[in-house]
């Protein structure tokens, strides 16, 4: 088996990413049903989204507006005239047995998104070209009950929930991305993350991967260097977190390379990512033969946004995340390397929010990049997915600044919040964390330490200041770490005549 370095040496990876975003409109794409997540099954439905005989779709203007905003944010051309099309296939969770989508006439085309990534050779910008952004409706959900796998095969019966049917979806499709080389998995992840940030800033979606409001299908192929043509690609679905994007692509690169090395062909197919193993399994391989019989949707008029409307929406575009980050870097006086670390860890947003809660930018950065990142790494989740809010962090920073917590105690509070023990105040109360500031108690503890280590104390008296460390350590141990170490040192040196 080839190592990753060897794979890159022999093959060039080509990426393709399809991201589905559920828009955050209040109502569905083609009817007036609400779109709230998590409602009782089949309570947010009507004749239109249930595909009742005779019911007709009507377009949600807000969904078109959101799609145009996305297109503009991704530097796309907005088509003055585009059409919906029917994608025909039978599936029980699709009420009409066709999906209203867009086919050869999408609303947004030919854009790009620049993705910044910190490589060992420094910060690099990768331009990801966008082929199209189009609108479609979501399907319902099937729940397969009984059987071992929760999949349709072997299930005793299936339940259908049409609440999701008809929720507006936007599909963002990249062109084939070349030139990411060994960073292909990281660039893919960085692209989805950047896209997610843009969509969040635009306010068009809540972009929660874990709830499925942002879904990514990752395509990858390897072509032998110098072959001059693209290899056969696989498409991995069910990639439900940013980390999974990176893992899925890495896993597929290994799988492709292994097949190619063994002289086998890569099959063009849909694969499913498996969180637990970090690998993919084969899905429907008949995909290639599927004929969706697309044709223009006769029940809807073409979408023809006026130039004025498009310009008005362009004027509404918020600051681009990259420009925003550059501005923050300036404002917070952060060195390039630090900024790159923040970007790569995906913490710029939370740091900004923490600062907005009144925290010092440097302190905020230190917490998010340090302790919180460390635990996130341990847990293999994204920093922003950690169960601690910018407000919590700002509160803790304020307590340290006021001298109510030491850095060490603050770490315990952070740990408690992450462990789900409640807000910082609740953690402090529940764990009985407090700075020992009663000087009498402290002095008593120091005296006990001096009495216990008379030789060490003598060394300090003789001017060997570093020797004080052992005594300070004993005091901290005695006070279960709750004393302010700086104050202990001060008092200790005073008592030993060194202040």
């Amino acid at each position: 088996m080839l190592s990753y370095e060897e794979i890159i040496e022999k093959y060039e990876p080509a990426l393709g990413l399809e991201v589905h975003v559920e828009l955050g409109t209040k109502t569905k794409m083609f009817c007036g049903c609400p779109t709230e997540f998590g409602a009782e099954p089949n309570t947010q439905v009507c004749p239109v989204c249930l595909g009742m005989p005779g019911a007709l779709p009507f377009v949600n203007e807000r969904a078109i507006e959101s799609t145009i905003l996305i297109g503009l944010a991704l530097n796309c051309s907005i088509a003055p005239w585009s059409r919906f099309a029917r994608k025909n296939y039978f599936y029980p969770d699709m009420p009409k047995n066709f999906q209203i989508s867009q086919y050869d006439e999408p609303i947004c085309t030919d854009g790009y998104l620049d993705v910044e990534y910190e490589t060992p050779e420094g910060m690099k910008t990768f331009r990801i070209e966008i082929e199209r952004v189009h609108m479609e409706e979501d399907t319902g959900k099937s729940l397969h009950v009984g059987g071992a796998t929760g999949r349709i095969h072997g299930a005793e019966y299936s339940l259908l929930d049409y609440n999701r049917a008809g929720i507006p979806l936007v599909e963002i499709v990249t062109k084939t991305v070349l030139g990411t080389e060994s960073y292909a998995p990281q660039i893919a992840k960085a692209y989805v993350k950047e896209l997610r940030d843009i969509l969040r800033t635009l306010g068009v979606s809540d972009v929660k991967m874990e709830q499925g409001s942002l879904r990514c299908d990752a395509n990858i192929s390897l072509s032998p260097r110098g072959s001059g043509k693209l290899g056969t690609r696989s498409e991995t679905k069910n990639v439900n977190s940013l980390r999974s994007v990176e893992r899925a692509i890495t896993s597929e690169m290994h799988r492709h390379a292994q097949r190619l090395e063994a002289g086998e062909r890569v099959v063009q197919e849909t694969r499913h990512f498996q969180e637990d193993s970090g690998t993919t399994r084969s899905g429907r391989s008949k995909e290639q033969a599927e004929d969706y019989r697309y044709f223009p949707e006769p029940d809807l008029l073409p979408v023809a946004p006026s130039a004025e409307w498009i310009e008005q929406l362009r004027g509404q575009l918020p600051e681009r995340p990259s420009a925003h980050r550059a501005r923050l870097q300036q404002l917070w006086q952060v060195p390039d390397k630090e900024m790159a670390a923040m970007i790569n860890a995906g913490v710029v947003g939370v740091v900004e929010e923490t600062v907005a809660e009144g925290a010092d930018p440097t302190k905020a950065r230190t917490w998010w990049l340090g302790e919180i990142s460390r635990v996130a790494n341990e847990r293999e989740v994204e920093v922003v997915e950690m169960p601690i809010t910018p407000k919590d962090v700002a509160e803790i920073i304020a307590l340290v600044a006021a001298g109510d917590l030491t850095d060490k105690l603050a770490r315990q509070v952070v740990e408690g919040v992450i462990a789900g023990e409640g807000s910082p105040a609740e953690v402090i109360a529940a764990r009985g964390i407090k700075v020992v500031s009663d000087e009498g108690e402290l002095v008593a503890a120091i005296e006990r330490a001096i009495a216990a280590q008379p030789d060490t104390a003598q060394k300090v008296r003789d001017g060997n200041i570093p020797a004080a460390g052992a005594l300070i350590g004993a005091v901290m141990k005695d006070t279960k770490g709750q004393a302010d170490a700086a104050r202990v040192r001060e008092l200790l040196l005073g008592l030993l005549g060194q202040s």
Binding site: M52, L56, K96, D291, R293, F295
Partner: protein, 501 residues
């Protein structure tokens, strides 16, 4: 009381307004007629006796309170079973929908109810409106009141026969390739396919979305106009409905004047294939219009020759997609669900059992026409023909106000004659189909009899000029009725009472 059934909607409207008769009496008279003759005619799939009488009572109560009512309040109507009516069985002539009671009403149904029109029940039709004879209905064939051994036309044969059998003075049809006009022609009644987008399609079970249009049917041109005015207008629930005022159809029907109008005779819709009796009645009608002051000229629409072929690609293509929803998952028939089969198997078994032969034929045709590799040659080419036909109309309407032709090449044919020859059946609609392809408006009204059977005269107007149909139609009707001593249906053989006796 039975005299009530022979009155026009306009006459009933007047009597009701003057309180000479109650809506309940009018409704009961028609229910009685249905009870008497519908065993023989089989126009209705469902008669809503209680509901109709309750609606009539509401109208009477409102009138007693002095409420301001529309002209058709209290007038009964027969509704084609393609329209969803809340709580009322809606089958579309198919086994696959047997027993389905929609949880909502079509916009047209809501408009009818709001206007106080009394809905008597649902009328028979070819399954999913696919056919020209009602022989494709899963629930039996409707008989033509003029000759019970003959078909009444289709798909809306039930609505047309109900009018000709005096079971209702008004009816609603839907017209995808002639389903209102062809039955109107074969039963001696009046039917209008409004401009595409003129009447909401919301709640109308879709056959071919880009061609389907709901329209009014009656025994007189004025009645048809009165009904047209009630059902037409913009609907937010139908994206293809036109947001513009409805053309002044009632005023046009009352004006009934063709002086100075230019009428074009479509060259391609005559000659071979048109029965001599049909051509004769057509020529006589032209003569009347000329004598009333209209100019008649020949107009060529060369691409109409491809209309039928294009239609039989576009309509099945759209139908193959529209009918995909009948899958046993949410409503309608479910076959084979015994716990051992997958959803896909149940879908497949249900569709195999639930759809009739003609529907299956068209689903297969349409699926094929849309397939990768065939799309451009079939669906794509058909759309090009459609554009050419639309251009033919535009060119013609640049020199004439309306176009005319016989509605159908033949009079009503015997039941069973064409049921095993789909192409012969398809040819029944050769003169009506171009209108749907171009989205323009058209009317069929009686032009007389050929060997005792009605002949239809078709008038075609540009989009959103539906009023011209009524203006020309009413003028022609006035002259013909004078000649016949009443509208054509009054000349129907005593067959009906014989059938009922």
């Amino acid at each position: 009381m039975s005299e009530l059934i022979y009155k026009s909607a306009a006459q009933l409207s007047e009597s009701l307004a003057k309180k000479e008769v109650s809506a309940r009496e009018v409704t009961q008279a028609h229910l009685d007629q249905i009870a008497k003759v519908d065993k023989a005619v089989q126009a209705f799939l469902f008669v809503d006796t209680e509901g109709a009488l309750a609606q009539a009572d509401q109208v009477d109560a409102a009138r007693a309170k002095g409420e301001n009512l529309g002209p058709l309040a209290g007038v009964p109507l027969a509704l084609k079973d393609i329209l969803a009516q809340e709580g009322i069985p809606t089958t579309c002539g198919s086994k696959i929908l047997a027993g389905w009671r929609p949880p909502y009403s079509a916009t047209v149904v809501k408009k009818l109810r709001a206007a106080g029109v009394v809905i008597l029940g649902k009328t028979n039709m070819d399954e999913f409106a696919m056919g020209s004879s009602t022989e494709n209905s899963a629930f039996g064939t409707t008989q033509n009141p003029w000759d019970l051994k003959r078909i009444p036309g289709g798909s809306g044969g039930g609505s047309a026969a109900a009018l000709a059998a005096f079971e209702a003075p008004l009816a609603i049809g839907s017209d995808t390739g002639g389903s209102i006009r062809q039955p109107a022609a074969l039963t001696g009644t009046v039917g209008v396919k409004p401009t595409y987008g003129g009447v909401s399609r919301y709640g109308v079970v879709a056959f071919s979305s880009s061609l389907d249009q709901v329209g009014p049917c009656a025994r007189t041109v004025l009645d048809t106009a009165l009904l047209h005015e009630v059902i037409a207008g913009h609907d937010d629930y139908d994206a293809t409905s036109i947001n513009a005022p409805t053309p002044p159809v009632v005023a046009a029907a009352k004006r009934a004047d063709v002086k100075g109008m230019k009428i074009g005779v479509i060259k391609e819709l005559s000659g071979d294939g048109y029965e001599s009796g049909v051509s004769e009645r057509f020529e006589e009608s032209l003569e009347i219009l000329r004598s009333q002051g209209a100019t008649i000229e020949m107009v060529s629409c060369p691409n109409f020759d491809y209309g039928l072929a294009a239609y039989y690609l576009i309509a099945p293509s759209e139908a193959s997609s529209n009918l995909a929803r009948f899958d046993a998952m949410r409503y309608g028939l479910r076959v084979g669900d015994d716990g051992s089969r997958s959803a896909e198997e149940v879908m497949s078994m249900t569709r195999a059992a639930g759809f009739g032969r003609e529907v299956k034929r068209r689903i297969i045709l349409g699926t094929y026409a849309l397939s990768a590799g065939y799309y451009d040659a079939y669906y794509g080419s058909a759309q090009k023909v459609r554009t050419l036909i639309t251009q033919d109309f535009a060119k013609a309407f640049s020199s004439v106000d309306v176009l005319v032709s016989p509605t159908t090449p033949t009079v009503a044919f015997p039941i069973g004659e064409k049921s095993n020859d789909p192409v012969a059946m398809y040819l029944s609609d050769v003169a009506t189909i171009p209108v749907n392809l171009a989205g323009v408006a058209a009317m069929s009204l009686p032009a007389g009899l050929s060997e005792g059977l009605p002949v239809g005269f078709q008038i075609i107007a540009p989009a959103m000029k539906d009023d011209r149909l009524y203006q020309v139609g009413a003028a022609l009707e006035r002259e013909l009725a004078a000649k016949w001593g009443g509208v054509l249906t009054t000349k129907a053989p005593k067959l009906i009472s014989a059938a009922g006796a």
